[in-house]
């Protein structure tokens, strides 16, 4: 096994987050009763014609610029002809001859090593509908709600050598595209789909082996498993003196193996030709410049800046900048309260924990930086203690509650009144002679117990610093 290396290229489909479909005015909204988000264009009615959604071109250009591509200033669409019931025209409008973006690359970081992954091209196309099979009735139903939803396909060069590199590449693309707001890139929901082209060869050689294309990969885990399994499968074929067949395979993640879908001999002739219903698209330098001007600061630059500007640890900066939304919350909160490290802690610990518990995405966070900043100020100035702060933060996370109001309503302000504290502490000492005894005998642990008892007696609102001092004094 060690003698071999796998050579991997990816075809990544990304569903663009436009309001309307690529060639008609129908909504792209997910769900909806079957065939309700449709019109004569996206159902392939006779005589209906496509009209290009400008936003799709802008998203494609933006992704191309962010991945260092050349923008093809005279691009156009082609028809890919094949019969299938989810494809109402029986051709897909795509780009073969003049795709919109060419010759790009992204830098990835896998296993601590930097690497450049080249992008062959990015093209625009329309999605197909969905078939729903009724096994009992031996019937199939066609739902065309998804027909005409805009896609871009990002085709890489065969530059990846391991599953780690593939995942790093996909994460890189996902972050870039999410930062651009061009798609939410959710693998599970199908808004990002990756087909893996893989071949193996003896390590150190340059020639390419026969490749297979793997489809139906719905998670990063599935991709890793599929790459491992396909690499092993191809090596064992070669070791046994056989030849890998060029084919398309379907990954079954439950069975953890793949099955042949069709071989090269069965490959269809798509009879591509220029789409006569859509004129070529001329992309002016001005248009490109305008889109370039709107490009956001991407993850890598942002991460570096957070480390140098806000002095937060690299790991924090890395995780926070994974999501543009989370990074936005971080930065705004840090500016408001002036305590970036504390902001980072709230995000890294409590926020990530709550996201995980509620199986939410960072992009789903609803609370405002203003309220988090207030919370940090309230803690810093000793108005609430850290225990209360955690309770209040859950409120903020859940309902974006104003912490000032919440604390007042629930009487959660910290007790800093020395005489009140003294009174309670004296009571605790009186009620726990054994612990007092232990402490005096040098058992530090006893101190913690007494503090705890005091906090309990004061419903968690006591100022922990003062409790400590007074306890020590009284003991």
């Amino acid at each position: 096994m060690k003698d071999y290396e796998s050579v991997i290229g990816l075809e990544v489909h990304v569903e663009l987050s436009t309001q309307t479909k690529i060639f008609c005015g129908c909504t792209t909204e997910f769900g909806g009763e079957p065939n309700t988000h449709t019109c004569p264009v996206c159902t392939g009615m006779p005589g209906a014609l496509p009209v290009l959604n400008k936003q799709v071109v802008e998203h494609a250009i933006a992704v191309g610029l962010a991945t260092n591509c050349e923008i093809n200033r005279n691009c156009r669409f082609d028809r890919k002809n094949y019969f299938y019931p989810d494809n109402p025209q029986d051709y897909q409008i795509s780009q073969l001859y003049e795709p919109i973006c060419l010759n790009g690359f992204v830098d990835i970081n896998a296993d601590g090593e930097k690497k450049k992954i080249r992008i062959h091209e990015i093209h625009m196309e329309e999605d197909a509908g969905k078939l729903i099979h009724d096994e009992n009735a031996a019937l199939s139903y066609v739902d065309l709600n998804r027909s005409g939803v805009p896609l871009i396909e990002i085709v890489s060069e065969p530059d990846m050598r391991s599953a780690q590199e593939v995942i790093a590449y996909l994460e890189k693309l996902r972050t870039i595209i999410q930062y651009l707001g061009a798609s939410d890139c959710k693998l599970q929901e199908g808004s990002m789909r990756a087909d893996v082209n893989l071949s193996v060869r003896k390590a150190g050689t340059d020639s390419l082996g026969t490749r297979t294309e793997m489809k139906n990969l719905n998670s990063f885990k599935a991709i890793s498993r599929a790459i491992a399994a396909e690499t092993a499968r191809q090596i064992s074929i070669i070791e046994e003196g056989g030849n890998v067949i060029q084919e398309t395979r379907r990954w079954d993640d439950n069975k953890e193996e793949s099955f042949s879908m069709r071989s090269k001999e069965d490959a269809q002739d798509y009879r591509y030709f220029p789409e006569p219903d859509l004129p070529g698209i001329f992309i002016s330098q001005k248009w490109i410049d305008e889109i370039k001007a709107f490009q956001p600061e991407f993850k890598d630059e942002k991460k570096e800046r957070y480390i140098s500007e806000y002095c937060i640890p690299e790991e924090d900066a890395d995780i926070i900048t994974d999501s543009k939304h989370l990074a936005g919350i971080f930065e705004r909160t840090a500016v408001l309260c002036g305590e970036p490290k504390k902001v980072s802690n709230w995000l890294m610990v409590d926020t990530l924990r709550l996201l995980k518990e509620k199986s939410m995405d960072a992009s789903d966070i609803k609370f405002s930086p203003e309220n988090l900043a207030k919370l940090i100020k309230l803690t810093g100035s000793g108005i609430i203690n850290s225990t209360v702060a955690k309770e209040v933060f859950e409120e903020i996370f859940e309902h974006d509650t104003d912490p000032d109001v919440y604390i007042k309503e629930h009487g959660l302000a910290q007790v800093n009144d020395e005489s009140a504290l003294r009174e309670t502490i004296q009571k605790v000492i009186d009620e726990n002679p054994q612990s007092v005894e232990d402490y005096r005998n040098g058992k530090e642990k006893a101190m913690g117990f007494l503090v705890g008892q005091t906090m309990k007696a004061m419903a968690g609102k006591a100022n922990p610093g003062m409790v400590n001092n007074i306890l020590k004094e009284l003991l």
Partner: protein, 516 residues
């Protein structure tokens, strides 16, 4: 010049300005513009016009077979009454308000069956109307039916229709031409005042020439194709078929214009086509390609067209012969491009979503195969196969790419010709309408009959067909005038001036008599 101006207060039985010496027997003997004026002035009602139209169709349809679908009589009358109300209320005042029209059956009409003359769409009722249909309806035109055509507009004779063969109103043993044969025959037989056709390689002009009526294919991109069931998308345009040039100008003006639903439609200023209807053609430069009079062209057609040249010269036009070149490449380039697009455009007729589906099948592929084998006729299948072949791997460069290059060269040849000439003049067809049942035996010969019309489609040019005489057997001959892109005005101007030198010749079917 026989079209004297005179005021007609009552339409019956006086003479029409237009109809020359013939007695007016039906309101369908008027031109669309004349009828529109009479309706507007209150001389006749929309219901009168509708009734005459229905009567005229009833009378000759058995012989002509111009229609695939006729709108129910009561429905036509109901709509006529509605249009009349709108006219009375001043809501409709355009020249076509209340004028009956027939629509070629490859143009979608919401709620009205639209078949493309094919079994595969024999029960298809579109959920929307083509842009041109909505435009005509907004003008108050009254749709009375859908006309026969070659299946999916593929053919030159209207014999490939699933719904029977249309006959030529001049001679029932002859074809009306195609593919807009039903529309041309309906106008020629005075069943309607005007009709819409579509022209992918001559499908308006050739049947107009065969049936002795007038029709124009506009510049590519002038009229929206939204709702036109596509055959050769990059070549075709919808256009009017009418009795005279003025009607063509008025109808074209009504249906043209940019459409957000058709990305290939062009934003053009309203060209003011009516202003071009003057007889003064002094100094207009007309080029006559020598290549358009090859040995395959009937001598009688050659004579009639050259006679037209003399007439126009006399009227002050500057006429010159020249070599256009590349004419022999037009037909092969056209058939490759049109078939390639057709093969793809007709894929959607697969039995899944609408239209005909075969009765018995075991799986998806068998369903596709049988549906399409049973649903399409021979000529359509021939072109789908041809189209699939020229686009298939390994042949794309040799055929399709080469055809596209030829198309570009042909356009270039026209570009340089239009540097010298305002209008290019020639015949529409090399021969007059052939007898029914003869053309499809030799498809290549039939394809070569498109030699003078396909160039305008390849180059996107506006081109008109106007009657220019009859041959010895009394069959009409057409004169073709082509202009540079977006120059419909000069085309209409020369056509109008030429038309004014002649009497309108009614087909025997329109004269109430039997055509042969």
């Amino acid at each position: 010049m026989h079209r004297k101006k005179k005021t007609v207060n009552t339409w019956f039985p006086e003479q029409s300005d237009f109809a020359g010496k013939d007695d007016i027997l039906s309101l369908m003997d008027f031109t669309a513009v004349e009828l529109g004026e009479k309706i507007k002035s209150g001389d006749v009602s929309v219901v009168d016009a509708a009734k005459d139209c229905l009567d005229a169709i009833e009378k000759s349809e058995k012989d002509i077979c111009a229609f695939i679908t006729r709108i129910d009589e009561k429905e036509v009358i109901r709509q006529a009454e509605e249009i009349q109300k709108k006219i009375d209320a001043g809501e409709l005042s355009g020249p076509l308000a209340g004028v009956p029209v027939a629509i070629k059956d490859n143009i979608c009409t919401e709620g009205i069956r639209t078949t493309c003359a094919s079994r595969i769409l024999s029960d298809f009722i579109p959920p929307y109307s083509a842009t041109v249909v909505s435009k005509l309806q907004n003008e108050g035109a009254l749709i009375v039916g859908k006309t026969n055509m070659d299946e999916f507009a593929m053919g030159s004779t209207t014999e490939t229709s699933y719904f029977g063969v249309t006959k030529n109103p001049w001679n029932l043993n002859r074809v009306p031409g195609g593919s807009s044969g039903g529309s041309a025959a309906a106008v020629s037989a005075h069943q309607v005042t005007f009709a819409l056709g579509s022209d992918t390689g001559g499908s308006i002009r050739q049947p107009c020439a065969y049936c002795g009526v007038t029709g124009i294919k506009p510049t590519y991109g002038s009229v929206s194709r939204n709702g036109l069931i596509a055959y050769g998308s990059s070549l075709e345009q919808i256009g009017p078929i009418a009795k005279d040039v003025r009607d063509c100008a008025v109808i074209l003006e009504a249906i043209m214009g940019h459409d957000t639903k058709d990305s290939t439609s062009v934003k053009r200023k309203k060209p003011g086509l009516l202003s071009s209807l003057t007889e003064d053609i002094t100094g207009v430069r007309i080029g006559v390609p020598r290549d358009y009079f090859n040995s395959g062209t009937d001598i009688q057609i050659k004579d009639a067209v050259l006679e037209a040249v003399k007439v126009l010269t006399k009227k002050g036009a500057v006429v010159e012969e020249f070599d256009l070149s590349l004419v022999e490449y037009a037909v092969p380039a056209y058939y490759i491009i049109a078939s390639a697009e057709a093969g793809s455009n007709l894929s959607r007729f697969d039995g899944v979503k609408y239209g005909f589906r075969t009765k018995e099948y075991n799986d998806l592929h068998q369903m596709y195969k049988r549906t399409r084998s049973e649903g399409f006729g021979d000529e359509v299948k021939r072109r789908i196969m041809l189209g699939s072949f020229v686009l298939s791997a390994g042949y794309y460069d040799a055929y399709y790419m080469k055809a596209l290059k030829s198309k570009a060269l042909i356009k270039k040849a026209f570009d340089s010709a239009f540097e010298k000439y305002d209008v290019i003049l020639g015949p529409v067809t090399p021969s007059v309408a052939p007898e029914t049942g003869t053309s499809l035996k030799d498809p290549i010969k039939m394809y070569l009959g498109d030699i003078y019309t396909v160039s305008a489609n390849l180059a996107g040019l506006p081109a008109i067909s106007v009657p220019c005489g009859l041959d010895e057997e009394g069959m009409p001959i057409g004169l073709q005038l082509m202009g540079d892109c977006f120059n419909e005005k000069d085309v209409l101007k020369v056509a109008y001036a030429f038309e004014k030198t002649r009497d309108y010749q009614k087909s025997p079917a329109a004269s109430g008599g039997k055509a042969v």
